[in-house]
Amino acid sequence: MISTLGFGTIAVALALSVYGAVAAVVGVRTRRPELVQSASLAAYVNFGLLAIANLAMVYALVVHDFSVSYVAQVGSRSTPLFITIISLWSALEGSILFWGLVLAAYTAAAVYVHRNHPGPLVPYATAAMLSVGAFFYMLLVGPANPFEAVWPVPPDGPGPNPLLQNHILMAVHPPLLYLGYVGMTVPFAFAIGALLSGELDATWIRMTRRWTVTAWIFLSLAIVAGMWWSYEVLGWAGYWAWDPVENASFMPWLTATAFLHSVMVQERREMLRVWNLSLIVSTFLLTILGTFLTRSGIVQSVHAFTQGTIGYYFIAFIAVGLVFSLILLTGRGAELRSPGNLDSALSRETVFFFNNLILTAFTFTVLLGTLYPIVAEALRGVKVSVGAPFYNKMTLPLCMALLFLLGVGPALPWRRAEPDVLRRKLVIPGVAFLAVAGASLALGLRQPYTILTFGFAAFVLCVTLGEFAAGARARMRAHGESALVALGRLINANRRRYGGYIAHLGVVSMAVGIAASSTFQSTRDVTLRPGQSVRAGRYDVRFDQLWAQNEPHRFVVGADLTVLIEGREVGRLAPRLNFYGDRDEPITTPAVRTRPDEDLYINLMAFERDGSSATFQIIIEPMVVWIWIGGGIIGLGGLVAVLPGRRRREVAVAADTYPVAAGKGGDV
């Protein structure tokens, strides 16, 4: 019954999407608004349909209805309830079902919010969104059908991938990722709408700005959550392996970040129009590429869901999308080329150009590295690997350049910077850079990238906090407000700018965390008998006992450890080895003690069955938590930037479009 319901709702959604896409386009071209209206209606109904389908699947999972193919694939009677619910997105078909829901939701919302916008832009955008939806619904009724009927009905199932059951972050990472990926469909659709309707000024950007930033926030949080999950679960105390699927989520983030900056240039100077359209099209296609890489099996990855024929569908979709977008872009390109003018090379505009250059080069490098193994095999017949050493070598210089720009950008006003003012602004940050870099060298640090990272971190902190301070001080003087109130009102009055600065601070936090944790990590292996301790760093780790526990879905062996500092007990850790029925190698669950200065990370590597000894890997990794905190700050910054403003914002925007006097740098 569930199978029929699920399949049926999606089939209807597919039909409605196709209808809606066609109706929207025809309605616009033949000037029949009722057709366009019907397309909007289709979008709303689709949301309802996908909601029903997803709820039906969750219900089937919870009641263990193994007659539904997806439930038979990932369900299990011995899996805890919470895990059962989130196994909705633990395997291919379910994840596409969830994708369909998020897409339907975004589509319906976008259509609703912009329902009163006149002209053909929105109908074309609606058609684009519905077309994308149609693709995914087609997958769901075809190669990725989670609602197939299984006969005879099995009594139980294998449960979701054990790696996914070990940590709470598994609940969080995929939905965040999809909200990010799918969210990029909205600005993409509006870009297509702009190209098709001819409304090529900054209108489509302004309409979709909040959608883009929102999707970007989710994507940022998703990537950091994924890193955190990797760190806590996989046992090597690392958080980024340049795995193809990690790269796949990172690439659209890079181009989206570039986009967020370059649209500011378009909004002020009506420049970079083709570039911005290309960026958002690339971002969207990269999200589809990301999904493709995860699901097609063409690259070897920790995350790869499956290998099968579904990859061909994605290839076709990417091909059609790419051809269609390229024809539109290059066709309308000539019309879009604006004369373009710049007041001065020393301006924020220039910084944004270089920001875009570096982010795009970064994306290109990662894409090349990810796809090269396939190219090499095709052209040379040899399997090669492209891993961390390559990516680090090629992208660390880019990261340094970005950190530098992060500091210089906020110090440079729009249009034209007065060299004296600039010099004054950068003196202290410059001194900070030299001081920190010098101190690092003096203390024996020799890794150049680490020194540069710390130096630039100080530089960026000074510039950014200086901007906050200067703005707050001006308010304090002008309005007599206290420092805190001034700061609050300052941020509130210029959410976009200061939200951005907050996000920059988050990036700095991540950079410092990554540099410190990579450079100063120490590892040792030790075998202990119960009662024995070992000294690691400033900790004494005492092995108390080994224990074993039978759980319905796995067999767990754990070690109780006590952590002491100078004789004082400060914590307990229990690393585990989890043995799942159908797998040979156990999966380790490391035990981590997180503090602001460093993490103590312990793996249970091996043990004697009689509990007489156990082997541990003890890792001390400094400042890891600042990576996660940084991620949160980035999200916070984005949130500040995206919050709806008051009437004043509309006036401010209008003032920008009709620049009155050159003067000092304007707001935002």
Binding site: V386, L445, L465, D525, V534, G537, T588, D597
Partner: protein
């Protein structure tokens, strides 16, 4: 305190904070003196082993190096790296050994020869090309702007 000095003080405080953190981190995580486990051999050898092991792929993991991977096979392979380095082999010879046993795939970074050069060169060319375009465009655009101002 004048505004400028207070600003300076604040900036230095933050810079100091940023500097203090990694310094403290370095001081703390330097491994303490020997303890119950096996004594640390030549520190140089260990560093070199780590460096070479970071370039070799763990055959049973997904993209991890044998330096990072906690699996048995990775540790055994790392021990082989250490032995060979201790016996006087150069890093290149050690890598060549593993390539002869496992294929080019065992290297985490393609050897910069032949077609592989593309992955190294293309990004650099793209960056250089892009930078050239920007510099030229900025020149042109500021030139145009200057012309505008000159006219009006």
């Amino acid at each position: 305190m004048t505004p400028r000095i207070s600003r300076l003080a604040m900036a230095l405080a933050f810079a100091g904070g940023v500097a203090a953190a990694p310094v403290a981190a370095e001081a703390r995580s330097t491994p303490q003196a020997a303890s119950q486990a096996a004594p640390q051999d030549d520190a140089e050898l260990e560093k070199l082993t780590s460096a070479v092991a970071s370039q070799l792929r763990c055959p049973v993991c997904q993209g991890l190096s044998i330096e990072d991977s906690p699996t048995e096979l990775a540790r055994d392979m790392r021990a082989v790296v250490r032995e060979q380095l201790a016996a006087g082999k150069s890093p290149e010879e050690v890598k060549a050994y593993f390539v002869s046993k496992y294929g080019e795939w065992i290297l985490l970074e393609p050897e910069p020869r032949g077609l592989n050069l593309a992955v190294y060169l293309l990004p650099v060319l793209a960056l250089a090309g892009g930078a050239t375009v920007i510099v030229r465009s900025v020149r042109r655009w500021t030139g145009a702007s200057a012309a505008d101002h000159a006219d009006s």
